[in-house]
Amino acid sequence: MARQGVARKTEAVERDVARARASAGPRTAELDRLIHERVRLGIVSALAVNDSLSFNELKALLKTTDGNLSVHARKLEEASYVTCTKSFAGRIPKTEYRLTGAGRRALEHYLDHMEALIRVTRQG
């Protein structure tokens, strides 16, 4: 009986996740993994409420190191979730990040995904 309940709950979660994936398109499995990591999730969330943020602003906001931020930002850039612009403010190099449409959609799908998980586990 209990085992049947767990099975039903698992099926419901899988259905919700499958629905979220279907609405997100074929790359969602990869997108989920990309955005699920904490620093990357932080970068995308911070950029969602700002036109752009500099490398130093993101570093201070997420309380992380240069190397860590750089690695995660590059992964998001490779996935076309963020764009990176390098320029000079006087003689000081400046790196600015912006969220792309694909990045915003990925965050929205991730939020839907989390909400679906919560909804299904609460129903159970």
């Binding site: 969330s45 911070a46 943020l53 906001l61 909400e115």
Partner: protein, 194 residues
């Protein structure tokens, strides 16, 4: 060995992390542009009225009256805009902007009492403009970029009022509380939705 955290808790934790990051990264955008234009207009009227007062006490009372009117207009238009753009005043960037703006205003109130008591009326315009500008510079750190720029302009006018002839005081107040509010208010209203 610790038990794995339930899926539900992890999902909630992730949502909480997203919300907190957005709050920390966000700007307070409910600075009321048109409200500032209205405050600027009443300040110009107050400057004209204050210039006609026969005693420093009445001059002070005129400007204190203007402060109350400005507080009412600024507060009401800020609440209205905050609701319109769904920008909470009591949490996140709104709360931090308010808490940073408040200390210079409290200091301004205390200095007004202290300077009036010893009859240093001529120091009041510079003190008010400087501290008001300081409030916008500190509070503006959590808002759109134009707000701290406005603060620096107020501080410049305040420095001119403190260091220049006493006769400039009332007119620098007119230029600052009147002119700067109207100019920056119009820019904010046009660029940031009202």
């Amino acid at each position: 060995m610790t038990a794995p955290r339930p899926l539900h808790d992890r999902a909630l934790d992730n949502l909480r992390y997203i919300r907190q990051t957005m709050e920390r990264a966000g700007s307070f955008t409910a600075v009321p542009g048109w409200g500032q234009v209205a405050v600027g207009a009443t300040a110009l009227v107050a400057a004209l009225l204050a210039a006609r007062q026969p005693t420093p006490e009445l001059w002070l009372a005129t400007w204190l009256g203007e402060a109350v009117v400005a507080l009412g207009i600024g507060g009401a238009t800020m609440v209205r805009k905050a609701f319109a753009v769904n920008d909470p005043l009591l949490s996140g960037p709104g709360r931090r902007a308010g808490l940073s703006f408040l200390p210079p205003m409290v200091v301004g109130g205390l200095l007004t009492v202290a300077l009036s008591r010893v009859g240093l009326w001529q120091a009041l315009p510079g003190t008010w403009l400087l501290l008001y500008g300081t409030g916008f510079v500190t509070g503006g750190a959590f808002s759109v970029r134009i707000v701290p720029v406005m603060g620096v302009c107020f501080m410049t006018f305040g420095a001119a009022a403190l260091l220049g002839p006493a006769a400039w005081g009332n007119w620098l107040m007119a230029a600052g509380f009147g002119g700067l509010h109207m100019v920056f208010g119009t820019i904010i209203a046009r660029r940031y939705g009202g």
